[in-house]
């Protein structure tokens, strides 16, 4: 036998309701042999893993948790398409592993019943048998297996109990379809299914399953996706068959399916499940008394969210300090080894800068994913969502959107990634699109600089209320109010037809597993670095090139060049002669001032500077000149870059930060070229702040949106709508402000 992977491994589709421990079981079975990817055109993550049992090699595909096979979105359609083999593999799975919650069999068997329609080899993993036993439920596993006609293996995935038996069963069940035909429906429904079945073309896989699903396809979504597979004859006869079935029984199709299946479930369940006579008050019920309480519950949500926000926010501080330190260290090393010039500048200002701006987000992302995993795995997230839903539903969102939106105040990147907890794809998209409007920590440097330089230091109420603080607060409110407005418009676009019902299961509380937490942190961090990181570095290098090229000494006035040489000589001599330190300092400052002027001239002549002048007519209505325009373009990779760029443009060098008195002074002194008219007035400064509150000047956010929506369309929409809003709002602030002041 050849050891090459020439023999294709058997494909196992893993399905189950949400909260059945499906992912835990999947991880326990496949361990580190996993890889994740995307399905084309949808946001669902594709997770696959390998497993070897004896000589058999199994390829497991983890499908999203679902209560039934009635998709209404492309994301949910992935499951049906995988079952039908309409994927790149072009064949249905060889085996299905359905994970069910032993403590909640009635509902879990609904999905099992739909899967039995496939008549494919199926293994049921009866998970959380320990919880069921604790609740006093007695399950006769062999009777269950006999009645369903498929193997049932009891497991406890989180304790890794029963895995060996399950693995053996999986390898044995390939090529072993269910022992009894699944038949939950009435004769009348069966006759309809058979008619549709006979109308199916020969090359259609799993005909009976497909036509059954299409018969109960309430809104025609699945039919439109599968019409090429089932052929025109089925598509044409479907509406009349559906009408006929609904009319003769007087019950809607949706209810006919559920009634038939629950009837089947009930008649079987009574034969293998014994319930305790009196139901006991569980720990979960007691905890929910407090945690879902309208007052105490909300207070606890507030505390939990405050802790989450603070942690994410404060992780950013030391991380960016450490990254800055590392960047400085590497930059100095490079300047010593690599001679000055384009290559040195590319290394320091392009590559090191770019890699740094990717790494700087990692601690926040990993922290957020840790907290999110704890909240979700423990079961608390569902309770917090219940309490917040009342408020967020007014925006067209559900309670689950709380965490992504709140995290976005620290940083939109982990915020957008946190939308993975939202299961409704349209709601998730809506949340992704408004998350970048929350004022993140990268806006703070811009606010601080401009407020310190231009907002008068007025205070009221004995200094308790200050105008500077109020302006800062107003910037946060601008983002929130705009987000509410945008949500209203997007909701009308994305979620037509008014409010849909929303439901979320409140799972039994449990202790999160450390290995699962670590895995989630790793996956969150890695998917950001892999998918968004490369784009961020590429754009940083592009913007560096725009600010550096075309480089030519010839644009510099000869007297300035001569001056540099003289000052350099003066400085070197003063060091050599060991003059008093204050004198050395003075000469250094003179030298730096001239060097900074040269840097400013280079920038003015660069593509970036030219672009700034080129767009000046566009930004003039905002009260901006080409210098502000260039700085804004340069801040496309990240908003805070605008502070450093303004430092260079206004001749102070790139090391200026928002607290710098020198930069504040330089901005106050700047005038329109050739006049005495000050460039920065209060309306210009306020306008610029509003611009940065609303614009999408953050390539990392756009890269993450691309990653999470798996398309270029949504980051484009985000960029365009935010930039247009920012422009209009800035124009209003400037025009109204100038008229008044």
């Amino acid at each position: 036998m050849s050891t090459k992977a020439s023999v294709e491994s058997a494909l196992v589709a893993v399905l189950g309701n949400p909260n059945t421990g499906k992912s835990t079981l999947f991880n326990a079975l496949t361990g580190a042999n996993q890889r994740t990817g995307n399905y084309p055109g949808v946001t669902v993550e594709r997770r696959e893993g390998r497993l070897k049992v004896g000589g058999t090699s199994l390829q497991l595909v983890d499908l999203p948790g679902t209560y039934s096979l009635a998709p209404r979105s492309p994301d949910e359609m992935v499951t049906v398409q995988t079952l039908l083999g309409n994927t790149e593999r072009r064949r249905p799975p060889d085996l299905i592993l359905c994970v069910v919650d032993a403590s909640n069999l009635s509902r879990n068997l609904f999905l099992v019943s739909q899967l039995l329609d496939l008549n494919l080899p199926l293994v049921v993993a009866l998970n959380m048998v320990d919880v069921a036993t604790k609740r006093g439920l007695e399950i006769d596993v062999s009777a269950m297996s006999r009645l369903l006609g498929v193997p049932v293996i009891p497991v406890q995935a989180h304790k890794r109990i029963g895995l060996e038996a399950l693995k053996q069963q999986l390898s044995q069940t390939i090529n072993q379809p269910p022992q009894i035909p699944h038949d939950p429906f009435s004769k009348h429904v069966n006759a309809t299914i058979t008619r549709l079945h006979n109308a199916c073309p020969d090359d259609c896989h799993l005909k009976r399953f497909v036509v059954t699903r299409l018969l109960f396809d309430a809104d025609g979504f699945m039919t439109s996706r599968l019409k090429n597979i089932v052929g025109p004859q089925v598509v044409d006869s479907l509406p009349s068959e559906q009408r006929e079935l609904a009319q003769t029984s007087g019950v809607s199709l949706a209810e006919q399916e559920s009634q038939a299946r629950y009837q089947w479930i009930k008649s079987n369940l009574d034969l293998f499940l014994r319930r305790p006579v009196a139901s006991q008050t569980t720990k979960t019920a007691r905890a929910d008394q407090v945690l879902t309480h309208p007052i105490w519950g909300l207070a606890i949500v507030a505390v939990v969210m405050a802790v989450l926000f603070q942690l994410v926010f404060f992780m950013a501080e030391p991380a960016s300090a450490a990254i800055d330190w590392g960047k400085g260290l590497l930059g100095t090393a490079v300047t010593q080894i690599v001679p000055a010039g384009a290559f040195q500048s590319l290394l320091v200002d392009g590559i090191i800068e770019g890699v740094g701006s990717v790494l700087v987000f990692l601690p926040q992302i990993v922290t957020l994913f840790l907290i999110l995993a704890i909240l979700e795995d423990s079961g608390y997230l569902a309770r917090a969502s219940f309490l917040m839903d009342r408020h967020l539903s007014r925006l067209g969102l559900s309670g689950v959107a709380l965490i992504p939106l709140l995290s976005s105040f620290a940083c939109a990147i982990p915020g957008v990634m946190a939308t993975r907890v939202i299961t409704n794809p349209r709601e998730r998209l809506l949340t992704i699109l408004i998350a970048p409007l929350m004022s993140c920590s990268a806006r703070l440097p811009v606010y601080i600089l401009l407020i310190a330089a231009f907002v008068p230091n007025w205070t009221w109420a004995y200094g308790l209320i200050g105008l500077k603080g109020l302006v800062m607060l107003a910037m946060y409110l601008v983002g929130i109010v705009t987000a509410i407005g945008v949500a209203a418009v997007l909701r009308w676009w994305l979620i037509p037809g008014g409010s849909q019902s929303f439901f979320i299961e409140l799972p039994t509380y449990k202790r999160p597993q450390v290995s699962a937490l670590v895995r989630r942190m790793w996956e969150g961090g890695w998917s950001f670095v892999r998918d968004a990181g490369t784009l961020i570095i590429a754009v940083t290098i592009l913007v560096w090139a725009a600010a550096y090229y075309p480089r030519s000494e010839s644009i510099l006035p000869p007297e300035l060049m001569a001056q540099v040489d003289v000052l350099q000589l003066d400085y070197d001599r003063s060091v050599q002669d060991q003059l008093p330190p204050e004198l050395i300092e003075e000469r250094l400052a003179e030298k730096l001032a001239v060097e900074n002027r040269i840097q400013a001239l280079h920038l003015e002549n660069s593509y970036l500077g030219r672009a700034g002048r080129w767009i000046e007519p566009v930004v003039r209505p905002l009260g901006w000149d080409w210098r502000i325009g260039s700085a804004v373009i340069a801040s496309f990779p990240a908003r805070e870059v605008v502070v450093g760029t303004m430092g260079v443009i206004f001749g102070l060098g790139g090391e200026e930060d928002e607290e710098s008195e020198g930069l504040q002074q330089a901005l106050r002194n700047a005038t329109w070229s050739g006049t005495n008219r000050p460039l920065f007035t209060l309306p210009v400064a306020l306008g610029l702040m509003v611009f940065f509150a609303l614009c999408a000047q953050c390539v990392s956010t756009l890269a993450v949106i691309r990653r999470e929506t798996n398309s270029w369309w949504w980051p484009t929409v985000t960029f365009v709508y935010m930039t247009v809003l920012a422009y209009v709002a800035t124009w209003l602030v400037y025009q109204v402000g100038t008229y008044w002041i």
Binding site: F216, A254, P294, F386, S501, F503
Partner: protein, 75 residues
């Protein structure tokens, strides 16, 4: 015979049977998959919108859309 009432008219702790569900086929089939279907027995744990209901062994947080009405018959 006790009259059927709307789900949101139950008080906390009330137990009831689902009498009928009015709404789009699509929403009804989604809820049915969860176990909320004609004849199912439930207990309202927290009233309001959204509410929490206990359904056999699961607890579900539910906000019904404008087009969906669940009628129940209290025990």
């Amino acid at each position: 015979m006790i009259k059927a009432v709307k789900l949101q008219d139950l008080r906390n702790g009330d137990q009831a049977y689902v009498e009928s569900m009015l709404g789009s086929d699509q929403e009804i089939s989604r809820l049915a998959a969860l176990g909320i279907r004609g004849g199912a027995r439930l207990q309202l744990l927290r009233r309001g919108s959204p509410c929490i209901i206990q359904l056999e062994d699961s607890r579900i947080c539910l906000r019904t859309g404008k087009q969906l009405q669940i009628l129940v018959r209290p025990e």
